[in-house]
Subunit: 331 residues, 2 copies
Amino acid sequence: VLPRRIRILMLCAALGTPAVAGAEAGIDPWLRPAEVPAPVDNVPTAERVRLGQMLFFDPRLSGSNWISCASCHNPARGWSDGLPTGFGHGMQRLGRNTPTILNAAYNPIQMWDGRKKTLEEQALGPMGAEAEMHQNLDAIVDELSAVSGYRQLFEQAYPGEGITTATIAKAIASFERTVVSGDSPFDRWRRGDVDAMSASAKAGFDLFTGKANCSACHSGWNFTDNGFHNIGLRDDDPGRYAQLPLPSMRGAFKTPTLRDVALTAPYMHDGSYATLAEVVEHYDRGGDAREHLSPNMKPLQLSAAEKQALVDFMETLTGEPRDLTLVQLPH
Amino acid sequence: VLPRRIRILMLCAALGTPAVAGAEAGIDPWLRPAEVPAPVDNVPTAERVRLGQMLFFDPRLSGSNWISCASCHNPARGWSDGLPTGFGHGMQRLGRNTPTILNAAYNPIQMWDGRKKTLEEQALGPMGAEAEMHQNLDAIVDELSAVSGYRQLFEQAYPGEGITTATIAKAIASFERTVVSGDSPFDRWRRGDVDAMSASAKAGFDLFTGKANCSACHSGWNFTDNGFHNIGLRDDDPGRYAQLPLPSMRGAFKTPTLRDVALTAPYMHDGSYATLAEVVEHYDRGGDAREHLSPNMKPLQLSAAEKQALVDFMETLTGEPRDLTLVQLPH
């Protein structure tokens, strides 16, 4: 059973109560809107969030019974895994960097290549993927149905709906809707605390929205346009093109959030940069590969101080850590 | 940073403040002594416990940077993994069932075959083992030393001692000293709450200490004599014999704790039984293989009700879940 305090915290998050005290949602486009969007047939409740957290941390969701969602989307590592590219079943290397699930609740389109739209659609993807969690989706319904604790928890969360792949996905999505960015120095600065950011970080934000034009794609409070762009990396991953065969989509990947970005090294869809400084260098030289390059990619000719300022700014996007209590899984 | 409440909780555990209110330590041999033993050169402090928790959950401690201590000693699954035998590097199957680390702090000898004595000695074993976490122990010192957050945390926990394999082990051991069993129905019954256990569970305890004589080996509050016994399983693992070549040690394994045993299926050093009922059946028939069998192993001729009573009793050993907050790892 979750301690009462945590249940209340989660409920607040689930129900969209502002987690950022005093955030003027809808007024300042750089502050997180308190309300987390959710579909009408899966409005988050404390029971759904709680069940979803259990499923998210339950290794029984994988074919091996050893890998959970949290194995790769590790809350202790910014909801990613700190690896260039992830590991899947049998510890085989996967093809792309594990994206954080932070603020995924706000995204209208999911995954590096946008092949899923909603959190509900996305949740079953890695679970059923041969190379990832390697789970047979019929078998998982039987497996969870055999656990009396889960039968009870599903009935509380989705009365009358039973344990199905749909309710599994809905519960996980409900938990993910609570995984939102915490209050950061940048947020405090936006709300008027002039001392919350260094002069260099403030200069970095000016560069970000001005000369360096990062905000052409990393736009708004979540620092993403949810669009797809080729940023000139030297790899041959087709990216969005596999979903949408337009020339401009060749090697194009979804703009990731920059919230908590200092916690989620290494960077880029291929994990090829170890530090934010390397990322800034990449953009400063206008990328490497030139084919199908996004028109926003141009050499920036930044000074050393300007490059540092951009890094300093990005480091102010680290939010307060979320108070997440591990729960005993049902048996 | 750990929330204050959790830090205090952990400190209490680390400093041996009774977690079981009203436990009469030293009076009733079936109640956990409040004081957790610790070596004089590694007295637990809040800083050591906090650092140890981070290390315990940090996948960078493995060669792949994907496997942490908690991957197999999963707090959400009774500090074990729910598997017959564990997985190691490359997801290769290991030879034995992953033992819980619950109350390991109280054990004078560690591991199924007793090849390590203290928690400090044990901590580096799985980390350096080729088949388990596959970590080069020199490399891990360099790797953690490169993380500024860790440099600070080690200095706070072990001033002047630096980041070494010794301080890594000491910190992990300090955290493990907080992983102790919580208040259970059995404890409440021992303290005088006559309604805390069912009549069947009480009968089970009488059988446990009487007719079935389980307590010959599963003795005292932690339900272990820390001895080694061959209980007649059909496998060819030499067990303790590899450490201590005496005939009686052939196929002998350390008596595991039964605290939280309902959470740590499957059972036995080879994980061959899925349920506690199957375990009781095993003992009822006096084991299977007869060579080098412990003299305590005899057919029990229990009735169906008596078998159920033993299971009911073991289920009363599940303690209140511990309030464990996940912390962001340093970077």
